[in-house]
Amino acid sequence: MEKVVLDVPLMWADHHVMKVREVLTKLDGVTDVYASSAWKQVLVAYDPAKVKRETLEQALAQAGYPVGQGETPILVPPTEKRRDPRWGDLGFRMSQTYRADLEMSGDFRKW
């Protein structure tokens, strides 16, 4: 029995974890899978006599989770000027307590 830890950068949330597990656990020879979306890694225990590491990687790649490749998509990359490009678009920031906040902040659960 062998164990391998694979980096899967595109597995960044738990719905990806379910897909990754589904792909791997279907393979004959895979005995255990621990997929972590927090670390974007998957630990696979498998029987090398039945399944090769390359097969694991191929199956993952086919499902859209290539090992060691890809990055979490960032739609708004940082700019060189280190200024958040959205600041200009979203207008002002509220820096004092909003009126409705004060109005609602009483003890409403009296009873």
Partner: protein, 761 residues
């Protein structure tokens, strides 16, 4: 603000918006822009999007501007070395995440992938009656819940406002062990906190854990499984958004007010179980926008300053480091911490019985196969009777079981039972007897594994095998009643003793006494008419949710939630003189037909914060009473038929008004005065004062069949009183017609009196 959390939340938001955009492009290509998108049984479209953007999404093409809006809210992840403020950016990204997640769930609905399929799973109790289309497996089920029905939202409304349900908890991920999962949920249930479940860790969800342990999940047990991924978290946040729209009188697009409403009035929090990934951080940022804090059972950075949430924003409480020997105690500490962080006000009554106890178990159903023994029903007679006796005749805490226990009854068998509660108190009055007696239903139902239906001499109680195995016996009914009467009615009840009677001779003797008392009370209640009293009562219990609504409760018009009648309010005022039910001196009667009273108008003007200045007690056409959102039925004028229809909360079907109950509820609720529409309690239909200014019960031309069936006897009596014994048959229901043309044809065929009555307008 933690840079680590900000980085991961912003990264997760970018990623989920990108994923939503890709999925939308795929759906546009495969299904086309006109393919319908809808959550089931809600009038609020995709509720978070609708609440925040005032934008009703009905088809896939409608999601394009939503994704554009989400993209406009995204920010770049914080720079490694260049530290700037990023709280606002993180919260923007949190909201972008929610818009993207709801869009994804909407598209999944269009593909038939939601509610999530879960073979072998069955929701307990009444969860499925509003979504029968998803009942495919034998016995129903096979799916997780998906979004909460509007009908359920409203029925939980009353419990959320009166504090029986202090708030809701979203459990995200998977607990360390199944035992820990069960312990956490039981701790929350014990406090009557609504539990929402979603997410997974390594493919394993708390839903799987509870399912494996045989924990019943569904609306009736306050445990709602939404889905096994984090994206399903959008459903509880949709529930929160709809709460603000339904009960807060807020309009779609008032995003800031909706978020603040949730911060101050919806006591919700999230517990992250297991590792936290980018999307969980991003979704947590979205939840924080609503003022909902997050408590994690792993080591993560904390956000302790207050502000967007009322207290801390993010708390880490690693499971291993909780100083307690067992999972149960660790769960208790974790839940306690969550309650502190959110500021939830919880009232627990300790009841010394061998099964868990709390309102969360009230709706539990004990099926025949799971039943150890039953009292009442077809095979036996059970009654309950509460009476006031002089102080010296009550020995406080005395619980007697008179007669044999159920040990000798075969499994699944039945036996006679009488529950006699004797109370004494300096402030106790005979008028309070029925009010207190009715509480027996709620009190007994609170025990896990015990089912109580009915009242008086048609009570029907079941004890489950599980409860019996845990040692629950007849004496425990007494323990429950003793503890709860003291805890809930301590202001009027000083002493309580309980007799549990199974001895046949005594049972017959006490049953006769009880029936005498029921008769006496009926006569007294029947004699109680609006003209006979000089005081009505207000009910502003729901103002914590619907700030401008005020119920005026008279002897002949009970509260629209059905839970409070005039006597209840009188008792409530005696128990808590500064509470939500205040006496209203009727004052001068300005119009006895429509029911205008100077005292009522003055009171309502103040109580509604000036929003309503005149109320007609007996008319739907002129200044009708407002409604919060808790009404049992909606009455609405059908102009073509010169009459009104009555739609029950339990009826999900279409009505002749072209709207379902949940759509109509938006017009009837929120503290608005809408002539022609009114929310009412179902027993108001039987009152001689029901729309008496507009022609009374004879105006009813259409009524949900549920009401016709469940109130058959009472409505028959009303028809006789109205001088038309066959009137009920002349009233259409959803099995006869759901459009005006069909309704008119039916009314003419049957010769309904409304057609010949004076015009309503």
């Amino acid at each position: 603000m933690s840079r680590y959390i900000a980085t991961r939340a912003i990264r997760g938001a970018n990623a989920i918006v990108a994923e939503a955009e890709a999925l939308l492009q795929k759906a546009l290509a495969e299904k086309g822009p006109d393919a319908p998108v809808a959550f089931t049984n809600t009038a609020y479209y995709l509720p978070v999007i609708y609440g925040m953007m005032a934008y009703p999404v009905t088809k896939i093409g409608d999601l394009v501007p939503v994704i554009e809006k989400a993209k406009s809210l995204l920010h770049p992840p914080p720079d490694e070395n260049w530290w700037v403020p990023y709280l606002g950016e993180t919260l923007d990204c949190g909201m972008a995440t929610l818009l993207a997640e709801e869009a994804i769930e909407g598209i999944r609905f269009a593909y038939g992938e939601q509610p999530e399929r879960y073979p072998g799973f069955r929701m307990t109790g009444s969860a499925s009656f509003t979504s029968p289309e998803f009942e495919t497996e034998e016995g129903g089920g096979g799916y997780l819940n998906g979004p909460i029905d509007d009908i359920q939202l409203r029925s939980w409304g009353i419990q959320l406002v009166d504090g029986r349900m202090p708030g809701f908890a979203a459990l995200l991920g998977a607990a360390r062990t199944n035992q820990a999962a069960v312990a956490l949920v039981r701790e929350l249930q014990r406090r009557n906190i609504l539990v929402f479940l979603m997410g997974n860790v390594n493919g394993r969800s708390i839903i799987d854990q509870l399912h494996e342990e045989g924990v019943e999940m569904g609306y009736d047990t306050y445990i709602v499984p939404f889905g096994r991924d984090t994206i399903a978290t959008i459903y509880p946040l949709g529930f929160a958004t709809r709460s603000a729209l339904t009960f807060g009188g807020l309009k779609p697009g008032q995003w800031r007010e909706i978020l603040l409403y949730n911060k101050y009035r919806v006591f919700a929090f999230a517990i992250a179980l297991g590792e936290v990934d980018d999307l969980k951080y991003a979704t947590a940022a979205g939840a924080i926008c609503y003022g909902f804090p997050v408590i994690a059972d792993t080591v993560i950075p904390q956000i302790l300053p207050t502000g967007v949430t009322r207290y801390e924003h993010v708390i880490s409480m690693p499971w291993e480091e909780i100083d307690a020997p067992t999972d149960e105690e660790k769960a208790a500490r974790l839940v306690q911490k969550a309650i502190e962080v959110r500021g939830v006000k919880v009232k627990i009554t300790e009841v010394p019985i061998p099964v868990p106890y709390g309102s969360a178990f009230e709706g539990e159903v004990v099926r025949k196969a799971d039943m150890r023994v039953e009292f009442g029903g077809r095979a036996s007679r059970a009654f309950e009777y509460l009476r006031m006796v002089p102080m010296e005749q009550v020995e406080d805490g005395k619980i007697e079981v008179i007669g044999p226990g159920f040990e000798d009854v075969p499994v699944g068998g039945a036996m006679d039972l009488g529950i006699v509660v004797e109370v004494a108190g300096r402030k106790m009055q005979e008028d309070f007897e029925p009010v207190l007696e009715r509480q027996i239903h709620y009190f007994i139902n609170g025990a896990s594994g015990i089912q109580h239906i009915g009242q008086r001499d048609i009570a029907w109680i079941r004890i489950s095998k599980t409860a019996a195995e845990k040692g629950f016996n007849l004496r425990h009914f007494g323990d429950i009643l003793y503890a709860r009467f003291h805890a809930d009615f301590g202001a009027i009840v000083d002493k309580v003793q309980v007799k549990i009677i199974t001895d046949p001779a005594l049972h017959a003797e006490w049953l006769a006494k009880a029936r005498e008392a029921y008769d006496r009370r009926n006569r007294r209640l029947a004699d109680l008419v609006d003209e006979a009293v000089d005081t009505f009562y207000s009910c502003v219990l729901c103002q914590s949710f619907a700030p401008t609504h005020c119920c005026v409760i008279s002897p002949q018009r009970l509260g629209l939630c059905g839970a409070y009648n005039w006597l209840d309010c009188k008792a409530s005022y005696e128990i808590n003189p500064t509470g939500p039910n205040q006496p209203i001196a009727k004052g001068q009667c300005l119009d006895s037909v429509k029911g205008y009273f100077t005292g009522v108008n003055e009171y309502v003007r103040v109580a509604s914060q000036g929003k309503v200045d005149t109320v007609a007690m007996y008319s739907i056409m002129e200044n009708p009473m407002t409604a919060c959102g808790c009404f049992e039925c909606i009455v609405m004028v059908i102009p073509e038929a010169n009459g009104v229809m009555v739609v029950s909360r339990e009826d999900p079907s279409m009505t002749p008004a072209g709207m379902t109950f949940s759509t109509l509820a938006g017009m009837a609720g929120g503290g608005l005065q809408t002539p022609g529409v009114m929310g009412v309690g179902k027993y108001y239909l039987t009152s001689p004062k029901f729309l008496s200014a507009d022609g009374g019960f004879r105006r009813v031309v259409w009524m949900s069949s549920f009401l016709k069936q469940t109130m058959a006897e009472e409505l028959k009596a009303v028809c006789e009183r109205e001088g038309d014994p066959d009137l009920l048959d002349k009233i259409a229901d959803e099995t006869i017609c759901t459009d005006v043309e069909g309704l008119l044809a039916y009314l003419e065929e049957k010769g309904h009196p409304a057609l010949t009555m004076p015009p309503l307008f």
